[in-house]
């Protein structure tokens, strides 16, 4: 009896197949830009795009972990602000810069853990739980600074790199984004933890019955999201030399947009970090090009909204077609009367 055909597809081809929509849109866009907005490809501008994509990209990688479980993290923008403010204040209290930055990261991770505890143990819906921490964290950063920006002086090599420096001619933040992306991609591919995220997003009950410690995995996922947002907060502070309590107010939406454009399903269980990287780059390219051709910031938002809808529609259609191609004609068993199975109530 025939059991299998063909070789296992390589990782590259598999990745391309899964992310063809976001990668395809990205390449198409780049081609269009090449034709119509040649100034885009001038070196300094490209570096700018990299820099612009970095913060949202880092947050979006963390967000991908949460969304894969079927959750959402609305608090990332507020975490960005709190961790930036914390870092700035600790520096002003005389703490060494690296230590202050580490504390900023910890604050982010800690708020993430609170999110995870609420979602996993208290069974609060992720949307509500992270909305609550978002509001509270916003309040916290305003309270810490009495509403104004917290300036700090002094910098070191690490902070310069995180804020505005270069590594091998590439913007520091972009390099950090790449490093985080690679870590994220590797974690999802090579750690059982990564697989557990997909399992939980696919079916919480099946994951539990498979022995997955679902609560622990969920808490860690939110902690990672918080940590990434915290990193973005420290980076923002490093660039501006200020802990701004109002920074990052829209980054939760931008990050979710990047994840969704990247093909990760908001229902969980499907997607990955590769798509998210391209999603974040795509967003940065679009806003950069619009800047270049002089579209007003207000109109840019409208365009962005349209891009989200178009990207998600295309991705959804692609996924449906792929699934249909591989689904055998509906097998008899789907229709057989099933013993024990409750008959579906028919609306009278």
């Amino acid at each position: 009896m025939a059991t299998q055909t063909g070789r296992a597809p390589s990782w590259l081809s598999e990745t391309l197949r899964r992310n063809w929509m976001s990668i395809g849109i990205f390449i198409l866009l780049v081609l269009l830009v090449l034709i119509f907005v040649p100034t885009f490809f001038q070196g300094p501008n490209l570096l700018n795009v990299g820099r612009q994509s970095a913060l949202v990209g880092i947050i979006a990688i963390g967000m991908t972990f949460v969304i894969l479980t079927g959750g959402i993290d609305l608090s990332v923008g507020a975490i960005l602000a709190v961790s930036g403010v914390t870092t700035a204040m600790l520096i002003n209290q005389g703490m060494l810069l690296p230590a202050a930055g580490a504390c900023g990261l910890l604050v982010g991770a800690a708020i993430g853990v609170v999110n995870g505890l609420g979602v996993a143990l208290l069974k609060i819906q992720p949307f509500i739980m992270t909305l609550a921490t978002m509001v509270a964290a916003q309040g916290l950063s305003l309270r810490l600074t009495n509403g104004g920006p917290e300036q700090f002086n002094g910098t070191d090599g690490l902070f310069t790199l995180m804020g505005s420096g270069d590594v091998l001619g590439l913007p520091g933040p972009f390099v950090i984004f790449l490093v985080i992306s690679i870590l994220g991609i590797l974690a999802l591919r090579y750690l059982p933890f990564g697989r557990f995220l997909y399992a939980i997003g696919g079916s919480m009950e099946a994951a539990r019955l498979s022995g997955v410690r679902t609560n622990r995995v969920i808490i860690v996922a939110y902690a990672i999201s918080g940590l990434c947002a915290g990193l973005a907060g420290v980076m923002t502070a490093a660039r501006l030399g200020v802990g701004d309590p109002t920074a990052g107010s829209l980054s939760n939406l931008d990050a979710i947009t990047a994840v969704v454009i990247g093909g990760t399903s908001l229902a969980g269980g499907i997607g990955g970090a590769v798509g998210t990287v391209f999603g974040a780059l795509l967003l940065a390219v679009i806003s950069n090009v619009m800047n270049l051709i002089g579209i007003s910031p207000f109109d840019q938002q409208i365009v962005k909204g349209a891009v989200i809808v178009i990207a998600v529609l295309l991705a959804a259609r692609g996924a449906r077609r792929r699934f249909r191609e591989r689904t055998p004609a509906r097998s008899a068993e789907d229709e057989t009367p099933q013993p024990n199975q409750p008959s579906a109530p028919v609306a009278a």
Binding site: R195, V212, S331, S343, P345
Partner: protein
């Protein structure tokens, strides 16, 4: 008495599976007709054909002597046929009155709630129900909800009421109240089709009966002219062919021992053991506690008391993880939502439990696929590649993936809950063969199944459950379907 509803030669098949074959019966005005049969005998299909969910392939349905076509639920409603399913179709967060008048609001433009409440109260009163119409449905007892559902159906001038196992989830007194309600309806001239597994009720309530077996009517007539044993033998239908049995004759030491297992209100005082190389079948009707027993041993649901020992060592039954680590595996009843991750590849599905059990620190997708290929070959799983989502495979191949997952996790005890549900005949035989092979390797296996021939063909011993207890333990080599069914319905 006038004939209200008649089915003549109705057949229905789904892609090769004959769900109903040449079904004929009549239902008189004001008659209660008991529809009985084993799980999967075709009762649900028959009900669906009458309620507009399935259009029969052949045969005709007559209402008051004239042929009718019931193609959609609205057709059934127009004919005055209403169906009350076991899972209720109420809005739990709306009040009783809001549910009752849903979409038929009194008043012009604005809803006249005063009038609605008054009418609802009066209406329920005529049925002998005294629920506060302002209460939320969520707060009602199961019995009250059931009655409300029936009341909702009756509001639409019902002439044929179909009740799908209305008593399966009710306790003693509630059952009596419901049966009284049905008797009251009968007096008002409503014809009732009453699906039940409990033969005592059937004898206390029904006028006539229809027995289904494998989609065929194996008996119909007046209740007064039959008895318990006759009905059971009609439900079972045919003699079981002994030759199909394939059980392991040489058994080892007891591997799994369950002692005085209790789960409040669900399982009572369950004790049994399974030896190495043995298959213990668990039979019983829907709601008898079979799945609950499997989940309790596996730690998926909390138990109230009792001990589970694996190879003489007590297992802390605290969750699936400790069961897995002790060496117990569960192939759950709901394959697509509990047994598999349909969006993940077969390779990922197969490796997941073993990965958890062995506490692996990293995973290697390449090795994973190679390992999956091994199982694909060994279990003869048909799939284009182990990397495609498992949800795209057929039911039989999906189930083999679930089995491969447990093989990879290296278990001593495997509990299979309805292992061949929704699987075609060929794949079924292969699953049986696999179960047999696993036994030969010394695994202890528990097979829960609603298909008695399957239980008898596979099991060394058969436990029959009834209302959360083990009602009988039978020797698989001598037990008959009649014997099992008789214990399962609570007789003798």
């Amino acid at each position: 008495m006038a004939t209200r509803l008649e089915m003549r030669g109705v057949s229905k098949h789904f892609l090769g599976v004959q769900a109903l074959r040449d079904v004929s019966f009549t239902l008189e005005a004001g008659q209660v007709l008991a529809l009985i049969g084993e799980n999967g005998a075709g009762k649900s299909t028959l009900i669906r054909a009458l309620s507009g969910a399935h259009l029969p392939d052949e045969g005709e349905i007559l209402m008051d002597g004239s042929p009718v076509k019931i193609a959609k639920p609205a057709d059934a409603e127009a004919l005055g046929i209403a169906t009350v399913y076991q899972e209720l179709n109420l809005f739990p967060d709306l009040t009783v009155v809001e549910n009752l008048v849903f979409n038929r609001y009194p008043g012009k433009g604005l809803i006249d709630w005063k009038k609605a409440r008054r009418e609802a109260r009066d209406f329920l009163h005529t049925l002998g129900l005294t629920v506060d119409v302002e209460r939320r449905v969520r707060e009602l007892s199961v019995a009250e909800k059931q009655m409300l559902e029936i009341a909702k159906a009756l509001e639409r001038n019902v002439r044929v009421l179909i009740l799908d196992e209305p008593t399966a989830v009710l306790g003693g007194e509630d059952v009596d109240q419901l049966l009284d309600l049905v008797r009251g309806l009968k007096e008002r001239g409503v014809s009732v089709i009453f699906v039940s597994h409990r033969l005592e009720e059937v004898f206390g309530l029904a006028d006539g009966y229809v027995v289904l077996k494998d989609g065929v009517v194996t008996g119909t007539g007046k209740i007064a002219e039959t008895n318990h044993d006759q009905l059971v033998s009609k439900m079972v239908g045919r003699e079981f062919v002994r030759g199909e049995r394939t059980v392991n004759a040489t058994l080892g030491e007891p591997v799994l021992e369950v002692e005085n297992l209790n789960r409040a209100g669900v399982l009572f005082d369950i004790s049994f053991s399974v030896r190495a190389g043995e298959v213990v079948g668990v039979a019983g009707l829907r709601g008898a506690g079979r799945t609950e027993l499997a989940r309790a041993i596996y730690g998926a649901d909390p138990i109230t008391s009792g001990t589970v020992r694996l190879k003489q060592k007590v297992v802390r039954v605290s969750g699936p993880l400790s069961a897995i680590q002790a060496g117990i595996g569960l192939v759950p009843e709901e394959r697509k939502t509990q047994g598999l991750f349909t969006a993940l590849s077969s390779a990922a599905n197969i490796s997941l439990v073993g990965m958890v059990k062995r506490k692996e620190k990293t995973m290697n997708p390449g090795n994973e696929v190679a390992k999956a290929r091994d199982y694909v070959r060994k279990l003869r799983i048909k799939m284009p590649s182990p990397t495609v989502p498992v949800g795209t495979l057929s039911g039989g191949n999906q189930q083999k993936v679930v089995l491969a997952k447990w093989l990879d996790a290296d278990v001593d005890v495997l509990i299979l809950d309805e292992p061949t549900r929704g699987i075609d005949i060929g794949a079924k035989q292969e699953i049986y063969q696999l179960i047999h092979d696993l036994c030969a390797q010394g695994l202890a296996i528990i097979v829960i199944s609603s298909e008695l021939p399957e239980v008898l063909a596979l099991s060394n011993r058969v436990l029959v459950m009834h209302q959360g207890r083990i009602a009988a333990e039978l020797d698989g080599s001598t037990a008959t379907e009649e014997e099992i069914m008789s214990h399962a319905v609570g007789g003798k």
